[in-house]
């Protein structure tokens, strides 16, 4: 099946490896993913105030373009995924939003482009069992832990991604690569998101809690699907120094591990 791929701003700049490895893995799995030519910014955050329709223009423009291609739209960045899912929900369920936005953009869009996260493609369309079969360099012996963050899971009524309190998709993914999936309590807690720009101290504390809890549970690597989570979790590793000198917990995009496990030969050095 052919998919339209939506990369988003960060994957073209600070998180190139996220997109590169996603494409590598897709090729190895025989998934045809073609970048949506007309893509533009998703808007970064979903507008929460009821009268704000303007921030919906940008995501709807990309969605409408994808609609013309007639393919599922695959996302990687959790934030983009969140915005698209909710923009679709608004266009579908809120008549005023739909009329205003599609009227302004002069497009005919009814909110029905199917937006799927790359992980959902792996789970529902490839299947973790098949991934397990395709893995050539299993990550055996590695104790990895999922870090879900917020945007993929909540609000469940609009995201329909996984159980918001007890998600399993990333753990199933980790196990399919041959690694051990370690549980720890903070995997669905917020990392502080963009507060790391305005409230650094707070973001540091929040990340500190997550990292320490992961460390207590023997986690050797965190697996994420969001460039902002990646940034925050990687940036505040110093929180660990007071308990364990210097050494931090590496943070991986799930696609990095996937590409690595699907590749031939001895496991490569970890990418940075």
């Amino acid at each position: 099946m052919r998919y339209s791929l939506y990369p988003g701003c960060t994957l073209k700049t600070k998180a190139k490896v996220f997109e590169e490895t996603a494409l590598e893995a897709a090729e190895a799995l025989g998934l045809e993913m073609v970048e949506l030519e007309e893509w533009q910014c998703c808007g970064a955050v979903y507008p929460l105030a009821k009268d704000e329709y303007f921030p919906l223009l940008s995501p709807v423009r990309s969605l409408a373009a994808a609609g013309e291609r007639g393919e599922k739209l695959v996302t990687l960045c959790a934030a983009c995924h969140h915005v698209f899912k909710r923009a679709n929900h608004a266009i579908k369920g809120d008549r005023e939003a739909r009329e205003k936005v599609t009227g302004y953009l002069e497009v005919d869009y009814a909110g029905d482009v199917e937006v799927v996260h790359y992980l959902e493609v792996l789970k529902n369309e490839v299947g973790f069992d098949r991934i397990r079969e395709k893995v050539k360099s299993p990550l055996e012996g590695k104790k990895l832990a999922a870090y879900y963050g917020c945007l993929l899971l909540r609000p469940e009524k609009e995201m329909h991604f996984d159980d918001p309190e007890n998600p399993t998709i990333l753990e199933d993914f980790i196990r399919s690569l041959g690694a051990e999936a370690v549980q720890y309590p903070y995997r669905t807690d917020c990392c502080g998101a963009y507060l790391s720009i305005t409230e650094e101290g707070l973001a540091r504390d929040t990340v500190g809690k997550i990292l320490k809890s992961a460390q207590r549970n023997g986690v050797e690597g965190l697996v994420v699907a969001c460039p902002l989570c990646h940034y925050n979790l990687a940036k505040y590793q110093e929180s660990l120094t007071d308990t364990r000198g210097g050494e931090g917990i590496p943070v991986h995009y799930f696609t990095e591990l996937l590409a690595q496990a699907l590749a031939e030969g001895p496991a490569e050095e970890e990418r940075t």
Binding site: D163, P164, E165, N166, P185, R216
Partner: protein, 659 residues
Amino acid sequence: MKRVGVFVCWCGSNIAATVDIERVIAAARKMPNVVYASDNKYMCSELGQASIRESIEKENITRVVIASCSPRMHENTFRKTVAAAGLNPFYLEIANIREHCSWVHKEGEVGTVKAISLVRTAVAKAARNEPLTPSSLQITKRALVIGAGIAGIQAALDIADSGYQVDLVEKEPSIGGRMAQLDKTFPTLDCSACILTPKMVDVAQHDNITLHTYSVVEKVDGYVGNFTATIRKKSRGIDMEKCTGCGICYEKCPVKVDSEFEAGMAKRRAIYVPFPQAVPNKPVIDRENCRYFTQGKCKVCQKLCPAGAVDYELEDEVLTVEYGAIVVATGFDILDLQAYGEYGYGKHPDVLTSLEFERLVNASGPTGGKILRPSDGKPPRTVAFIQCVGSRDQAKGKAYCSKVCCMYTAKHAILLREKVPGAKPIVFYIDVRTPGKDYEEFYNRATDEYGATYIRGQVGKVYPEGDRLIIRGVDSLSARPVELEVDMVVLAVAVTARADAAGVGRMLGITTNAHQFFNEAHPKLRPVETHSAGIYLAGMCQGPKDIPEAVAQASAAAVKVVGLLNKDSLVGNPTVANVDESMCSGCLECTQVCPYDAIKEKSITERRGRETLTRTVAEVNEGLCQGCGACSVACRPGANNLKGFTNEQILAEVDAVCL
């Protein structure tokens, strides 16, 4: 020419403050067929009724319209008034100018115009009212009670003590219900079994009670006074006559499965007695798990039984019995906690439901009454009780208050402290609700004498850290974050209606509310009756309630049953459907839409010229018909007509409103 009299009621200021009575009367006088119109401050009063009677006689009135409150209030009163004046009581028509009018309109002009319109409508219908005569129905002097928890037991005993035969049907192998699973009962802390088991024994020994355990009611037909129920007595695989209840059979059974009675906290065998005080105290074979039934061999129990009572070939028995009245006491379930991942139930063994904790405290329970952590068998030092898990939750659970949790949580706190000296109960609550005799005092004892700390705030998350559980929450009163390390968490889970309640409701022809609890006929004035005459409610199946309330309701239901069975005959409802056979095409669509199964096909023979033709028509059973009118709506040629609400009458009303 019909002579219609119109009587407009003020209802004090209820109607008169909004509706201009003078104008209504003036308008009424000009309506077709109206020969008289007057008003009264309280038409339902003795004086008001007398004025109606006098006017009927003096003005030679033949049809009566009373503009007043809803017919649900005083239709019967006024029918008697009209009858006392020598008219057929069904010559009366009520225009509801209170609930439908003065109570919903603030502005006098709108209210007055609408009142006039409603009166005109009623006048148009009344002029077409025909005399109706109720039929007389016989009553079968036997009652059926469905469900043998405390409510069903109480209802059965009360009916039986009044001298009527009762069949008590219970789907589980033993009677006793949920109450049998409980340890102590609030607010007196007497042991649940100690007060329940004597009643269970009474039931078993009562001459007027026939007990059908491990049985289900599969079908109910008929109507008040004349129900016919089909009861399936599932095969226990045990000859109840031969079995002595010695218990050897289940000691050697090789299969172990989770015990339902112990809420999964202990195992039982495939042949088992659910609990030591079970009634009847004879085993049952669980065919889904029995090795003989699943794999075709074993038969250990049969070999060991000294009485030769084990008989795998025994089949279900199906009874068809007639009843005059039915009490529904089917009880409740507890909420599935799937949607509450934040509390960690099912992921951590030391997070328990309140029912599981109940078994943990009970002397006959899995730990012999010692409160021990399922994870490591150690007594907990600190236990957090979280209330409103699924209750008062419009998003993921049930919007209603489960009513019993505040009290049993206080009880749990007390029992914890009694069983594990020095242990600390901590209760998370939203509001503590203790309306009931001695209830607030009981809650006070938990805090004052038993050291329970109450924290007002719902818990955000429960997760394990080492061998303990961390609780993150907030004390909303002090606005301080709360982080506790505890040994055990007990969730006060919402009570819910039985999963099959809607289906049972359909079988019985009674309705359920949005949460599948059975609807009473009136929330205040008819709390144990249903909208189906002769069917009554008792216990949790009608809504959350505690033991005293369930027992009180059961006794009330029993009184209703006895009151009904005491009558020689019943007066039928004359507003029933009627088929004009000459018009009926026999399509039988009405038989499909009738919710009461009151219409059947019938063959008639008629002469057409020289030919004799046989054809199919529909026929209404007036005993079953509830007068809902669905058949009249479905009948295309209008052959099926509801007496008292005929097509002609309804069209006259519509014309009166529209033209």
